[in-house]
């Protein structure tokens, strides 16, 4: 193909220029990620040499003595993200199905406007709402009733101060639901009409066509929205720092205070006076990057596996 048209003529047509410019843009994204990791790696040399892999296993975080371990923060990050997804996924997907399939278009579009608005609210506002509304509710009503009903589980034991893993998870859920709804709705709306009509033609009810045909068709897109939400909840800083209690301990109880990676970096970096302390915080940043990377990788594998299985079943 290149033989038929000279480089110069392609350049004149603008194809080559467009290709070059967009390639540079695409490459920048990769380059920034690589630079980020290199920088984090380079600036965390002290704790990497001093603690090695023990950094991931130990639970002490003592800036005064210069002893640092990341486990309570990794635990807090994963637990709050898990709680958030546990609450937000059913709610978000349910709402998206309603908006895309069942609601009248005018209602759907109006609600979509408000959902997009919610997604744009800064996280510090969610943190303030968390402190003034979710925390008191948690302490006075939610935690006592959880304890009396589900108190036999270790998940809901111990004193409830209001600041806890569960509170952080709930606030995160409120923050990520708009993402899940917004993206899932778009994906559901883009499912071809033929799919629905075919299902209805063979005698399905409206709900059967939605649940058995449209949702499975849109599955990988919906998964995508969940992973976007997961990434956001892993990295959320401000709102979590305001409601999690900021106590680097590992507790089985969701009602106990904890700490997350992003929150400790935001809290301590500005006043970290020893070099080891600063670098340990930077290594935590590296850990968070790694965590996001691994979870995203697992997510991709999950999508591939489930869509293959789905395809297999369809053939059978």
């Amino acid at each position: 193909m290149s033989g038929s048209r000279s480089f110069l003529s392609r350049l004149r047509d603008g194809d080559e220029i467009a290709r070059l410019i967009t390639f540079v843009f695409a490459a920048t994204v990769v380059l920034i990620s690589i630079l980020l990791v290199l920088e984090l790696w380079h600036d965390s040399v002290l704790p990497r040499h001093k603690f090695g892999l023990g950094f991931f296993r130990t639970t002490t975080w003592n800036p005064v003595e210069g002893d640092f371990g990341a486990l309570p923060f990794i635990y807090g990050t994963l637990v709050t993200a898990a709680v958030a997804l546990f609450i937000a996924v059913p709610l978000g997907i349910g709402a998206a199905i309603f908006l895309a399939e069942l609601a009248p278009p005018r209602v759907s579009d109006t609600l979509e406007f408000f959902i997009d608005l919610l997604a744009a609210v800064p996280s510090v506002i969610y943190g303030v709402l968390g402190i003034f509304i979710v925390v008191p509710l948690m302490r006075q009503y939610i935690a006592p009733s959880l304890k009396s009903i589900l108190g036999f589980l270790p998940l809901f034991r111990g004193p409830a101060y209001g600041l806890s893993f569960l509170t952080a998870g709930i606030v995160l859920a409120i923050m990520i639901i708009p993402y899940i709804i917004s993206v899932s709705r778009e994906v559901l709306l883009s499912v071809p009409r033929d799919q629905r009509e075919a299902a209805l033609a063979v005698g399905s009810t409206r709900w059967e066509s939605t649940w058995k045909v449209v949702v499975p068709f849109a599955r990988s897109g919906i998964m995508g929205s969940i992973f976007l939400a997961l990434a956001r909840s892993l990295g959320e800083t401000m709102a979590v720092a305001m409601v999690i209690g900021n106590d680097p301990k590992i507790s089985a109880s969701l009602l106990a205070p904890g700490y997350s990676i992003a929150a400790v970096i935001a809290n301590e970096l500005a006043e970290a006076t020893s070099e080891l302390h600063t670098q340990s915080l930077i290594e935590l940043g590296l850990v968070l990057f790694l965590l996001t990377f691994v979870l995203n990788g697992l997510a991709r594998i999950l999508i591939v596996v489930t869509s293959q299985r789905g395809a297999g079943r369809a053939r059978a």
Partner: protein, 342 residues
């Protein structure tokens, strides 16, 4: 048309001349606790000396020490004195030392929320240390109750609240606890973000205050300025002479006077638990960190001029902003030390 354009150009030129008439720009960075008074000072000083413009970024004490050591700013500011290791790092990099100059004083006060208790509570240092170590867990523990005869304290669990973000407030508070409790000193020590044995972490003064307000039977600590500005009730603390004292600007200044006798020449001194009947025990200096040698003599003279003004007229701005002023003895000492800057 041309004339209008001409006028605009002339006006712009004049404006630029006024704004940038070889104004000497000096940059500083550091502690956030004194930021309101520093901003006021630099602004007032600029009004009096239009040719000198001092810019200050409140990025935290740790950041201030780092930036001045790196040489990216002309001076630093910190709520805690630099330690020997940091001084050595500075000396190694620049070949000359860095000096500490106290500017104003601050204090830390205990605040609490106990339903049914309106009285101002008395706290001994031992009681505060035991509460924050998690050893005293009930409000009616004798260690608290004995200092508060006549107040009916509940038999409820104490909810301990501390700062989660690294802060000079925590440094001052833990410095005090280290002085009054041997166990605190060995188990926890002092620092901007120590490893708290118990308690919830609130983000910033507002986080601590909010948590204490919302949580029955809780205790926390905040800066005096913050408590005053937000009308938060706070308790008395027993000082080294055995007097229970409520923090006030006068009692904080008295703490600095009490410590002046043992003050080292470099001003790196903690004034927590200071001697004197009128001295509030959880008080602290905040410092400017100024290099001893300047390569730029104009900058050197400007900074020396500012510090001289700050120690004199500048101190009159402190009370309006709820900072405690420096005692006369310290001002006299600092004026002498200023001569060392070359």
């Amino acid at each position: 048309m041309k004339r209008i354009a001409g006028i605009i150009v002339v006006l712009l030129g004049a404006a630029a001349g006024v704004l940038w008439a070889d104004a000497l720009s000096i940059n500083g960075a550091g502690a956030s606790f004194p930021n309101p008074i520093y901003t006021k000072w630099f602004d007032e000083y600029h009004k009096k000396n239009p040719n000198i413009q001092i810019n200050y970024q409140s990025i935290g004490s740790g950041g201030g020490i780092k930036q001045v050591t790196e040489g990216t700013v002309d001076f630093g500011a910190s709520d805690g004195p630099m330690n020997d290791e940091q001084l050595k790092a500075y000396q190694d990099k620049h070949g000359s030392p860095i000096l500490h100059f106290p500017t104003v004083l601050g204090a830390v006060v205990p605040t609490y929320n106990i339903p049914g208790v309106d009285a101002t509570l008395n706290f001994t240092g031992e009681a505060l240390a035991a509460i924050y170590l998690g050893k005293v867990t009930k409000w009616n523990d004798p260690l608290i109750a004995d200092a508060n005869k006549g107040v009916k304290l509940p038999s409820e669990d104490i909810v301990v609240v501390h700062r989660a973000d690294g802060s000079g407030t925590s440094y001052c508070f833990t410095d005090y606890l280290s002085k009054v409790s041997e166990e605190w000193k060995t188990k926890v020590g002092k620092g901007t973000s120590p490893n708290w044995p118990v308690g919830l972490g609130g983000k910033g003064s507002e986080g601590v205050t909010g948590t204490v307000k919302n949580t029955p039977n809780s205790i926390g600590y905040v800066e005096l300025i913050y408590a005053e500005a937000n009308k938060i009730p706070y308790g008395n603390v027993k000082n080294a002479d055995g007097v229970f004292l409520k923090a006030s600007l006068a009692s904080v200044t008295a703490a600095a006077s009490g410590a002046v006798k043992d003050m080292p020449a470099d001003f790196r001194v903690s004034i927590t638990n200071a001697k004197g009947k009128a001295a509030y025990p959880i008080s602290t200096f905040t410092w400017l960190l100024i290099p001893e040698k300047f390569s730029d003599s104009a900058k050197r003279d400007a900074i020396k001029g500012f510090v001289t003004w700050m120690l004199g007229d500048g101190q009159n701005y402190t009370e309006a902003l709820s900072y405690a002023r420096l005692p006369k003895e310290v001002v006299a000492k600092e004026k002498k030390a200023l001569a060392e800057i070359q």
